[in-house]
Symmetry: C2
Subunit: 523 residues, 2 copies
C-alpha cells in the first residue's frame, strides 16, 4: 500500500519532519505507520471510503511546550496538523483529519485536571481529559459539583466544547459554560484569553469576557488555534433531583408537545437541556431492528405499536428532570404535568416508576451529570456500526418540529433508512439530531447514505434550517450553505485564518475554512 | 481656534473627505464645525483636558448602505472613524473618540426596532435604538416582554451590549443575551454572524453560534467592525415580581454579606444581576454632600449615621428581586431571609414597605426592565458634574469585596474623594463599580482624580484584579495590564486588527488596540 503523505510533501521532506517531531517529543510518541498504530486515527464509521480521511501520521506531545514545538516544526516543514482532544467525536468523524495526509496532533497526554474549585464551581482542564475522567476525579475527591457530559463518556471536554456540543443538565449549552482558554497559535505562540491575560488573575475561570474583544468563540469550530487549557463551569449539586419521562403515543403529537414546551423552556420552568426522542432512538438501546421486523422499508404501524407496548414508551418520549428543593420541584412538576396533560394519551413517569428500564436508567445518569456509554447500543439497531449525525437547528415551534421530522422521515423511507432522532430543546432553539445508521461494510448502503445526507442538507437549507456541526465529509457543503451576501462570513473567516495561520498548518478544511493555497480545490 | 484635524491629514484632504461624505449622505448630516454642532460630540465629563478627545467632525448616515459608503470613503481618504450608537456611555467618555481628530460615525439615525418577536422573546434593533426607545415601543404594542436596561435610559442597546455592560434583571449580562449581528467591516463589506449567514434563516435571533467560528465576541469592546443590526433576547414578564432591599449597618458587613450571597447566586436562588450599593450611592440620589457635611475629607461616622437614620438605609444596601409564581417567590424569599438574617442588624424591606423612597422606586423600575434617568442625580452629590467609573472584576468572596472596597476607600480618602460604589453580583464574578465624582471645572481636582485613577489601576492589577471596561483616557493603561506572556493577547488582537482593517480606519485605539501606523505612539 502506498504511504499516505500530506499533499505536496514528498517522502524525504516527510521523513525529515517526522525526525524533527521525534527529536522534540520522543520517537515513541510519533506514530507513522500501521505497526505504530496510525490506523487507529481513522474515522471508525466512515461514510466515504475508509481511507479517504486518513492521516499520514500522528504525534502525541506530553505538554504545552511540546505542542508549541510540534506546531513550529509543522510550520517549518509546512505539514498540516489535525488537533484532536480525545478523538471520540464519533458521529462526526472521530479522530480522522479533514485533509487526507494531515498529521493528527493527538492531545491525549495533556490529560490533567489542573484545578477544581468547589467554592466557585469550575474546573480547569487539559484537552485530553474526558467526561469520564473528570467525573471520576470529582467522585474520588468527594466533590459536590456536577459535570454535564456529552452522550459519549469517552468524549473530551475540550473537544466537545470546542465543537459546541450540547448535554443534558441545566448546564447543557457547553460553550455557554466555558470560561477562559489557553491557546497555541499557528506560529507556536501561547495566548490566554479573557482574564487569563492579566498576570496573577484570580478570575480567569470566573469572568468570561476580560477586556477588549472577547475571542474565545473564534477558537470553537475553527482552525485558528490549538486549545491547551480550558475552564468550564460546574453545577453545584442541587438539593433535589427528580428525572421523569413523559410519553406521547402518536407521531403527530410532536407538534403539540413542542408548542407546550416552548413557553416552559423560555421561562426556565424546564431547566435542563431536555430531549424528546423518537420511538426508535429509545428502542435501539435495548433491542435490534431484526427482533421486531425483518422486512425492508419503514417499520409498519403494527410493529411500532408492539415496540410501544413492549417497552412502555411512546412514539415520542420526553426526558427531563426537576432540580431544586422539594417544594419547588413539587410546584414545578404540577405546572409541567398540567401543561402536557393536554396531549391525549400522554403518560407520566418518574424514574422510580420504571425501575428496570435501561433507557430511563441511562437518561437519569446523563441528566445528573453521570457519563455513560449506553448510547453506543444504538449502532447495533441495524448492524454494521456506521453512523453519522445530521443536526439542523430550528425555532422551538410545533410546525418546525413536524416539518423537519416529516421531511427527514420521508427521505429516510425513500432512501431505505430508519429515522432515529431527537429534539434537544434549548432556551430559544432546538437542535434536531437525526442519527443515520448504515452498514459500514456495505458499499451500496454507504452510497445511499451519502445521497440521503446530501439531499437533507439542501432541503434543510432551502427551508432556512442550518446545521450546527457536522461530519468531516460535509463541512464544505454545509459551510457553503451559510453563504449570505456572497459568502461574507466564510470570507471573513478566511481573512482571520490567513492572518493567524498564513501557512495553513492548523486543521485545513475544518468547518469549510481552508488556507489560501488549498482554497477552491477539492480535497 | 485652530481646526482639529485627523492626524496626518491636511485641511485640503480633510475637506475633500467631508465633501465626499456630504455627497454620500447629504451635507446636512455632516457636522464639521462648531456651528454645526460638532462640540456635542465631546466627552461631557472629561477627566483630561476638555478638548483632548475632540473629534474633527461627525457624520450621521441614514442607513446601512450609507454606513458602508462612509467607511469606504474614510478608507479612501484614510480618515479615522469613531462609531457610536447613542453616545451616552457617559462614565466612559460619552460620544468622544479615543483618537483626537477622528470623525465620529454617529449611528443615531439607524434607529429602527426591526422586529420584536413576542413568541420567542427577542428584538432585532439598529444601533440608534436606546433602552427607552425599545421600552416605549414595547409599551405601545402591549408587549409582555421586558428589556434589561443600562442605568442610563438614553443608552444605546447596541453600544451598551458591545461594551459588555450589565443590567439589573435576570437578563443582566447583556452580551450573554445577544444573538446575531450584522456588521460593516472596514472595507465596507457587510457580514451577518451566526445563523444570519444562512439565507432565509429562521433562527438568526434564536441560536447564537451558527456554524464555524463564533465571531460575535470579536465585535465587542473592539474596533474590528461597525455593528448595524443586533439581536437581543427579552425576558417574558414573569407571573410575579417582588423587589426588595436588605440593609446592613456596618462597613465591614460587606464581607459576610458576600459570603452568604455567593452560594445563593451560583445556585440561582437569586436570579437577577443583584447589586449592593454603599451608603453614598443611595444617598446621592436624593441629596447632596453639602446638606450633610461641609468639611473636607471622608464623612465622619456621625454624619454617616445621620444619613442612615434619615434615609432608613445601611452602610451597604442589597437590592434584588424575586421573580416567578407566588409560591415559588414565597419559598425563595424564606431562603434569602434566613440566610441574610445571620448578619447582625440586617433589615428587610419589600418595595411596599418603602412607598416614598425614591431609591427603592427607581431600583424597582430597573429590576423589572423599566429604564430611568434617576442615577443622573448622583453627579450632583459633590457638584461639578464630572464622573468616571473604575470597574474591577473580582471573585465573589467576602475577602475580595472587603479588600477592593478598603483599597479604594483608603485611596479616595488620601486623594480627597468620596467613595460611591456598588458590587454587582454576577453568576461567578462581581463587577465592582466605583463612581469617581469630580468637579469638571476644577483643574486641580481633575489632576487629583487622574492621579487616583492611575493608582487604582496599578494597585488592582497587582492584586490580580482587572477592569472590565474603561474611559477613553485609560484604555491603553488597562490594556497594558492584560500583558500575560509578553502581551500575547494584545498582539493577537493587533493581528486581527491588521487583517480586518489594514488602513486602521475604525476606532483607532479602542480598548488599547491601535492600527499598525499608530502603534507605540502616544495619542
Amino acid at each position: 500500500m502506498a504511504r499516505k503523505l500530506p499533499p505536496g510533501i514528498d517522502i524525504t521532506e516527510f521523513e525529515g519532519a517526522l525526525a524533527a517531531f521525534a527529536e522534540a517529543i520522543g520517537i515513541e510518541w510519533v506514530f507513522a505507520d500501521e505497526s505504530a498504530g496510525v490506523s487507529s486515527y481513522r474515522d471508525p464509521f466512515a461514510i466515504v471510503d475508509d481511507d479517504h480521511f486518513e492521516p499520514s501520521a500522528a504525534v502525541a506531545p506530553a505538554d504545552v511546550e511540546q505542542v508549541q514545538d510540534i506546531v513550529r516544526i509543522a510550520g517549518d516543514f509546512e505539514i498540516p496538523l489535525w488537533p484532536i482532544s480525545t478523538g471520540k467525536n464519533l458521529a462526526y468523524g472521530g479522530p480522522a483529519p479533514r485533509l487526507p495526509g494531515s498529521v493528527v496532533l493527538d492531545l491525549k497526554r495533556l490529560n490533567k485536571v489542573i484545578e477544581v474549585n468547589e467554592e466557585f464551581g469550575y474546573a480547569l482542564v487539559e484537552p485530553g481529559v474526558s467526561y469520564l475522567d473528570l467525573y471520576e476525579h470529582l467522585q474520588k475527591t468527594g466533590s459536590k459539583l456536577w459535570i454535564d457530559p456529552a452522550s459519549n463518556a469517552m468524549g473530551g471536554i475540550v473537544g466537545n466544547t470546542a465543537d459546541r456540543g450540547v448535554g443534558y443538565t441545566p448546564y447543557g449549552d457547553h460553550f455557554a459554560m466555558q470560561c477562559g482558554m489557553e491557546v497555541v497559535l499557528a506560529d507556536g505562540s501561547l495566548v490566554r484569553t479573557g482574564m487569563g491575560a492579566l498576570p496573577n488573575s484570580n478570575t480567569w475561570q470566573l469572568f468570561k469576557y476580560g477586556f477588549g474583544p472577547y475571542l474565545d468563540g473564534i477558537f470553537t469550530q475553527s482552525n485558528f488555534g490549538v486549545i491547551t487549557k480550558m475552564g468550564i463551569w460546574l453545577m453545584p449539586e442541587p438539593p433535589g433531583y427528580r428525572p421523569y419521562l413523559i410519553t406521547f403515543p402518536r407521531e403527530e403529537d410532536i407538534e403539540q408537545v413542542i408548542e407546550i414546551l416552548r413557553p416552559l423552556k423560555v421561562s426556565l420552568v424546564i431547566q435542563n437541556a431536555a430531549t424528546i426522542s423518537n420511538i426508535l432512538l429509545d428502542a435501539c438501546i435495548t433491542g435490534t431492528r431484526s427482533q421486531y421486523y425483518t422486512g425492508d422499508g419503514p417499520l409498519p404501524p403494527s410493529v411500532l405499536t408492539k415496540i410501544m407496548t413492549d417497552q412502555k414508551i411512546g412514539m415520542w418520549n420526553f426526558y427531563s428532570a426537576l432540580y431544586g428543593p422539594e417544594p419547588i420541584m413539587d410546584a414545578t412538576w404540577g405546572v409541567i404535568r398540567d401543561a402536557l396533560s393536554a396531549v391525549p394519551g400522554a403518560r407520566f413517569y418518574l424514574a422510580e416508576d420504571r425501575p428496570n428500564d435501561p433507557v430511563m436508567a441511562y437518561r437519569k445518569k446523563l441528566m445528573s451529570g453521570e457519563p455513560t456509554l449506553a448510547e453506543f447500543n444504538s449502532i447495533n439497531w441495524t448492524g454494521g456500526g456506521g453512523h453519522v449525525d445530521f443536526s439542523p437547528i430550528s425555532p422551538i415551534t410545533g410546525a418546525d418540529a413536524m416539518k423537519q421530522y416529516s421531511m427527514i422521515r420521508d427521505r429516510c423511507a425513500e432512501f431505505g433508512f430508519d429515522y432515529l432522532g431527537e429534539f434537544i430543546i434549548g432556551w430559544r432553539e432546538m437542535h434536531h439530531i437525526f442519527m443515520l445508521l448504515f452498514d459500514g461494510e456495505d458499499e451500496s448502503q454507504k452510497t445511499q447514505a451519502r445521497a440521503l445526507f446530501s439531499v437533507l442538507i439542501d432541503e434543510a437549507a432551502k427551508a432556512g434550517y442550518g446545521e450546527y456541526r457536522t461530519h468531516l465529509a460535509y463541512m464544505d457543503k454545509i459551510a457553503a450553505s451559510y453563504n449570505w451576501n456572497d459568502n461574507a462570513l466564510l470570507k471573513l473567516n478566511e481573512r482571520i485564518k490567513d492572518a493567524l495561520d498564513p501557512k495553513g498548518i492548523l486543521a485545513p478544511g475544518k468547518q469549510g475554512i481552508w488556507p489560501k493555497h488549498l482554497r477552491g480545490q477539492k480535497n
